[in-house]
């Protein structure tokens, strides 16, 4: 039986603020939350549809190159977008692929944490580090 909640952190830990997703997962791992499975990867691909099976809810955590500060948190629905044509799928496109393959996907949310610098070998920017704290605090409240 899969744990009812799946949280996926997306990003490359060595590309500056792209590390926000994996760093959030690291912090959540330390909390050992019951009923929660944590995964991290550089990007989403279609086989993640298999990980979504049997879940009650799914949360994607990713860095956002633009958009609200410190983060935007919201429901994400299945959507057919242009990410189908790349090596990575957006969360909405993954849900859409799930819908086509297996039926109605579990409810899902995206935590998009605002980032600023994405260079190889760069560390997390100070602003992004603050945004991460705010996002984690908000997620604890939602929990």
């Amino acid at each position: 039986m899969n744990p009812p909640t799946l949280i996926i952190g997306i990003g490359n830990p060595s590309r500056g603020d792209d590390a926000l997703g994996p760093l959030a997962i690291e912090r959540l791992e330390a909390l050992a939350l019951p009923g929660v499975e944590l995964l991290t990867d550089y990007q989403l691909q279609v086989e993640y549809a298999l990980d979504l099976q049997g879940r009650e809810r799914v949360i994607f955590i990713d860095a956002a190159a633009s958009g609200p500060e410190p983060f935007a948190y919201g429901l994400v629905t299945a959507v057919e977008d242009a990410s189908y044509s790349s090596h990575e799928l957006s969360p909405g496109a993954l849900l859409h692929a799930y819908q086509k393959l297996y039926g109605e996907p579990p409810p899902a949310w995206v935590m998009a944490i605002r980032g600023y610098g994405f260079g190889l070998g760069e560390g997390l920017t100070g602003q992004a580090a603050g945004n991460l704290e705010a996002a984690l605090a908000a997620m604890m409240e939602v929990k």
Partner: protein, 493 residues
Amino acid sequence: MSADLESAQHPETLRRVAIEPLSRVEGHGKVTLLLDENDHIRQVRLHIVEFRGFEKFIQGRPYWEAPVMVQRLCGICPVSHHLAASKAMDQIVGASQLTPTAEKLRRLMHHGQMLQSHALHFFHLSSPDLLFGFDSDVAKRNIVGVIEAYPEVAKQGVLLRKFGQEVIRLTAGKRVHGTGSVPGGVNKNLSREERDFLLKDIYQIIAWSRDAVQLARRLFEQNRELYNAFGRFEAHGLSLVRADGAMDLYHGGLRARDKGGETLFDHVNYDHYWERILEEVKPWSYMKFPYLRELGPEQGWYRVGPLTRVGLCDFIPTPFADQERRSFLAYDAGRAAGATLGTHWARMIEMLHSAEAIKELLHDNDLSGDALVVSGARQERGVGVIEAPRGTLIHHYRVDEDDVIVRANLIVSTTHNNQAMNEAIRQVARQYLDGRKLTEGLLNHIEVAIRAFDPCLSCATHALGKMPLVVELLDAEGATVDSLIRSVGCGER
């Protein structure tokens, strides 16, 4: 001659079309076309904004960190970098011969990577073009269209990829950021429970892989003239082969053959690859152009990857894949084996080989051995070469007496294929675009040619909102006349 299209006379008088970035091609790639007033193509160039910070990222780190750190260069093929760096570091620690357990575990990991990468490319990135047509309805020409029209094919693609990921997870220790391969060997073996977990599915995986080869073959047969001619060009080829001439994706000597099939060199130790391969810089491209030293920069460019490997090896050391190799090479008097779109067929033959090789390895008790690491006399220089999913991958390091990497040079598969991809799109431009009003379907022909190589330019970040797809039509002064933007994101943001 397509080389004529590399640099136009009086480009300032021509109209420019840019396809940027390329969809279903990872990272930052752009094609520019220069057209005259009658829509005749005068210049075609593939520009790849290759990130040249690889070496700087690695330099200054202790050598034992390299196999883990290099995985962060690329989110698409991290295992290939993991293994190429490990092979280089084997030389640094003086491990001239790995233990059977270590070598076989690495091979298993590599075949897992080949399987999942080839499955993703064929089923999800290329099959929409191949099943529906290059200029079919763009709204349908994607994996969702495949799921709707060919649900079983799409599901098999997902499960093939998932199986490859499971092989990686169990050999590398983690699903991503694995640490399984270390300088001189590996840090874990495969338990019998893990082996049995993989064994229960492997026969289904082989069966689906055999079906995939037949699907690729049928697609070629149904459109034989198109597939034979589309973006076709003659090229020299380069790959690793085993000492007995067999396909070996993990280790071997370098073999190069010219366009006519004559062997230029064979079983060359890659430790001194620079004696055979040099790189040229062109002012209009960030990415270098490798060439065979003995033929020079004008004549010495070559092709790497599945099409080359299947054609260059003397045999494939697994039975079903070798049967398919012989059938592929014999098809239409050998013409498919030189066709750009024959790459898809060759890629599926390699996927079948990896599935068969995984089965053979899973039946080998060496995988659960306890001798994991060896070492010998410390060396200053290490070179690791592997046949990655997209082609030959070279890692080259120099390490100082304080164990710090002071120099690194990487030649990735997509760089080897730089000139070859330019040749393919120039042929396509001549064949399909010249003198015609450009449409999305026609421009997709360019992308179909590039996609056959599955170039991975994944040096870009993957943050939400970072990868819009843009097609721009520009006038001679570079001003935008028209553009189409398809944003990538999630519905509620």
